[in-house]
Structure formats: C-alpha cells, structure tokens
C-alpha cells in the first residue's frame, strides 16, 4: 500500500488506489469494518454474553453434584463448567462472523469485495481475525463471573491465557466451518445448519463429565475421537490443576488439525463462490 493513497469509505474500509493491497492491511480493514458493525448493532454481541453465562448457571446449578462422582477431577463445579461455557461462547463468536459473511453475500457487498483488487485470502482472514477478537468477550465475562461466585484458578494467569488461546482457536474453527457453509449456500438462512454442526461438536465431547465417567457408553467413543475433547482438556487444565504440557499439546494439535481441515473446507467453498 506504499504507493497508494487510501480513501476511507462509509463502511470503514480503506480503498487502495492503484496496485492491489497486501493481505494484512485488507484483513485489518475488514476486521475494523466488522468491529464498527458490532458497535453499531450491539445486539449481535448478546448471544456471546448471554449464552455462556446461561451455560455456567444452568450446568453449574443443575449438575453441581456430578463433582461427587468418584474420580471427578475437581470438587468445584464452576471450575469444571467455566471453560466449557467459554468455548461455547467462542463458538458463537465464530458463528457470528460467518453470519456476517452471509449478510454480505445477500446484500451484494461481498460481490463488491470480489470485484476489488484485494487478495482473496484477506477476505477469509478478515472474518477469522474478527472471530478471534470476539473470543475475548466470553472469556472475560465468564472468567470474571465465576471468579466472583466462588471459582478458583489453580493454574493462575497462565491458565487464563491458555483458556483464551483455546477460545480463540475454537472461534476461528467455528468461523471456518460457518464460512464454508455460507460460501456454499450464499445465505444467512444456513445459520441453523452451522449451529447444528457447532452444537454437535461441543456436546459430543467431555463438556459435562470427563471421559472416565462415560466408559461403557456410546458417547465415550464419540468424545474420544472428537478433537473438541482435547481442546477442552487444554482449556480446563489450569482450572482443575496446574497447566501442563501434556494437557496443552494435544489441545494445540487438535486446534491445528481443525483449523487446517476446516480452512480447506472454507477455502474450497470460497473458490466455488468465485467460480
């Protein structure tokens, strides 16, 4: 962008004049546009705040006695459900970005982006960057709420940092899944399908109880192969004990695999959209 004189548009994008802009500046401009959209429509933030808090209250309240089960990793249900609730909120963050892309596709703004000489990768990275930023919201809200109501964090600040990393990874993964669907359907109405995928992945995991409590059930096998289980293990590690490499590495690996696979899914959808 060095040879260009950016022109601000009403949407918050800077439009290069002359050569095509680089990936990072365009992605940053798209993130800025999405953030402006969020400020202008605060209601889009509500599910990210309300749903994780609801999960904390509902699961923490209704299933508080599961910690009495022999071998349960913690005696404080808030420590157990808080990371799960954060990841639920983070998945909503990713869903929101995909929903925004669907809106752009429906109202024609996406066509204008495709006509611009911007790098294609930036269009996806902009949405994903916005998803990752939005993951801060449920993390801050839920962690603050549970710390005020009796949760402890044995892993300290590192535990919260690991939880945030997991939340950002889940937001990006959910965003990629959502973008892949939206690029194929070209409508916001595919939101239901996106949510079904996200909910299924989140619940067929160790969301409520650890693997050891599911032995002998079908869910044990589903949760074992579900990468969200490893991500949850990583996110929870500092809430049920110290943060360990053994807990974090599988989670990071699972996130990398999900982002790689879903990234391919989204990119293929994007290419189909262009074609």
């Amino acid at each position: 962008m060095t040879a260009t004189s950016p022109t601000p548009t009403a949407a918050g994008l800077t439009r290069p004049v002359g050569p095509a802009a680089g990936v990072v500046p365009v992605a940053l401009a798209l993130i800025r546009r999405s953030l402006l959209g969020t400020v202008r429509i605060p209601a889009t933030f509500i599910p990210m705040i309300v749903m994780p808090l609801f999960f904390v209250i509902a699961f923490g309240g209704a299933f508080s006695s599961v910690t009495l089960l022999p071998g349960f990793p913690t005696d404080n249900i808030l420590n157990w459900v808080a990371p799960f609730s954060v990841l639920q909120g983070a998945s909503f963050a990713g869903f929101g970005s995909a929903f925004g892309a669907g809106r752009d596709l429906e109202n024609g703004f996406f066509d204008r982006l495709l006509l611009a000489p911007s790098p294609r990768l930036a269009l996806i990275l902009g949405a994903l960057g916005y998803s990752a930023l939005r993951a801060f919201v449920p993390t801050v809200i839920v962690v603050s709420a549970v710390l005020l109501t009796g949760a402890t964090v044995p892993g300290g600040v590192l535990a919260i940092a690991v939880l945030l990393l997991a939340a950002m990874g889940v937001a990006v993964s959910a965003g990629l899944w959502g973008l892949g669907v939206v690029y194929r359907t070209r409508t916001q109405r595919s939101g239901g399908l996106i949510q079904v995928g996200i909910f299924t992945a989140m619940f067929l995991s160790v969301g409520l109880v650890p693997l050891s409590q599911m032995e002998g059930t079908w869910l044990y096998w589903a949760a074992r192969v579900n990468p969200i289980t490893a991500v949850l293990g990583m996110a929870r590690s500092g809430f049920v004990g110290d943060v360990t490499v053994d807990a974090v590495l599988p989670g990071v690996g699972a996130l990398a695999a999900m982002i790689g696979l879903l990234g391919w899914f989204a990119w293929r959808g994007f290419r189909r959209l262009e074609g």
Binding site: F54, G61, A62, S64, S65, L69, F203, L204, G207, Y220
Partner: protein
C-alpha cells in the same frame, strides 16, 4: 382466497356467523396442514430433545448411584418426562409463531372481515397444537421404550402422560398465541423461547432438585414446572398412583387455564383494534 388458509376455512352463509364448532374444526385443520407442510418448524422439536437426552443419559449415567437420586432403572428413564415436556414446549411455540404470521401476512385481517366465529381462530390453533402434542408424546415414549426406558405405571400411565403432553401443548400454545396476538410478530414469539428454555433448565427436568445446591435449588424447587415434572416422573419410575395422576394433570390444567385465558384476552384486544 388463496394459500393454505383457503383449503380449510368453510364459507358461511351470507349474513350469518359460522358456528363455533365447524369453524374451529376448519381452523384446526388449517393449523395442522401448515404444521405438516413445514417440517422444518417441528422436526427440530423432535430431534433436539432426543439428542440432548442421548448426550445427558450417556454423560450422567453414573449419577443415578448418588445418594438422593430417585430410584430409577437408568438415567434415560429419569429423562423421559423431561424430554417429552421439552419436545412439547418446542412444538407449542410453532403454533404461536404461526398466528403471528397470520397477522403479519394479512390473513388475520381477512378472517376479521369474514363472519368466522372469533374464538375459532384461537381454538383452531390450539387444536393443531394438541394433535402435535399427542404425536410428540407417543413418539418420545416409543423411542425411549425402544432404548429400554419403560413406563413403570403401565398403559394407564402412558395415557396420562399423553394427556399431560396435550395440556402442556395447549399451555405453551396459548402462551405463544397470546404473545403472537399481542405483538403480531413472529420474532417476538421466538424471542420468548429462551425464557421457556431457562424455566425448563432451572427445574427438576434434567437432574433431581435434591442434588442441587444454593439458590439454584431454591428456585428449582419452587418452579411449577418442577412440580409437574416430578409428578410425571413418578408415573414413569414407579407404579401408578392416583395422587401422581391428579398432580400431573392438575398442574398442567392450571398452566392451560392461565395461558389460554391470556391468549383469549389478547384475541379480544386484537379483534377490537381498529
């Protein structure tokens, strides 16, 4: 008149209001047709409760051994009434949203300009919700039975559960119709759904209140849904007892009376609107 409404609503003789019963039957038939033709609106009400039940039953199967847990064969058996009621609550919202759709697309105004008996507009919708409630109840009981969760109270208890489901369908249908009539907005009806979901969660639906703690337990024990849920659950997990039947049916009747009265008030208000 075109569209789904045209199929079922009978045309009265000029100058005379259509009798209540034929008009209600016609409106009920229309409501049922609109449900049947839009599976996307009611299939989630069958699938999601089953998915939640399957995950909870597998996750929490060992909790049945905790002291204070009611005597059950399995967690799935414990969940049967919760799944049934959850499904009916999902389905009932559809009827309310449809009445709001009638207002939004102008069909309600066309009904107003016809001599259709006014209560039939509401009763027809509730009739559709009742039929859907029966289908849902039998479906859930059938699926749970297939997976080994028996109704210990026998066929009579099953019949009572179906009656409870129908009354609940009327209750939630009345509530949703009342909101729909008040606001004329499908979105407003849908926005009340999370409230119903929260009420269900803060009850004995998914876990016994005896094993809850703190303010959550306090609220859950005072939630009328818990009272009805406990009575319905007793029909499932123990032998048939008359007081369980009276409690389950009585509380569901109470809900129905309150919400249908609310819907009737809103219908009167809507009819009088210029």
């Amino acid at each position: 008149m075109s569209g789904p409404g045209a199929v079922a609503v009978t045309t009265p003789a000029p100058g005379r209001a259509t009798a209540l019963v034929p008009a209600t039957v016609a409106m009920g038939r229309r409501a049922l047709l609109s449900i049947v033709r839009q599976p996307a609106t009611w299939v989630p009400g069958l699938v999601f409760p089953l998915l939640i039940a399957a995950v909870n039953a597998a996750s929490l199967s060992r909790t049945v051994d905790l002291p204070g847990f009611p005597p059950v064969d399995s967690f799935l058996q414990f969940l049967l009434p919760a799944t049934l009621i959850q499904g009916v609550l999902f389905g009932g919202i559809v009827g309310g949203a449809d009445i709001a759709l009638d207002i939004q697309d102008g069909f309600f105004d066309r009904l107003m300009s016809s001599p259709v008996a006014r209560p039939a507009i509401l009763l027809g919708r509730l009739g559709g919700a009742m039929v859907l409630g029966v289908v849902q109840a039998l479906f859930f009981i059938g699926v749970f039975t297939l997976f080994g969760a028996r109704v210990e109270g026998g066929p009579v208890a099953v019949a009572v559960l179906v009656v409870v489901a129908v009354l609940l369908a009327v209750s939630i249908g009345g509530f949703a119709a009342g909101i729909g009539l008040r606001t004329g907005s499908q979105e407003a009806v849908q926005n009340f759904f999370p409230l119903v979901f929260v009420l269900l969660f803060i009850s004995s639906a998914f876990f016994p209140t005896a094993l809850m703690t703190g303010w959550f337990q306090w609220v859950a024990e005072r939630n009328p849904l818990s009272w009805m849920m406990n009575a319905a659950r007793d029909l499932v997990i123990s032998d048939l007892a008359f007081d369980d039947v009276v409690r389950a049916v009585g509380i569901a009747c109470g809900f129905a009376v309150v919400t249908v009265s609310f819907a009737a008030m809103q219908l009167r208000r809507r009819v009088r609107m210029p």
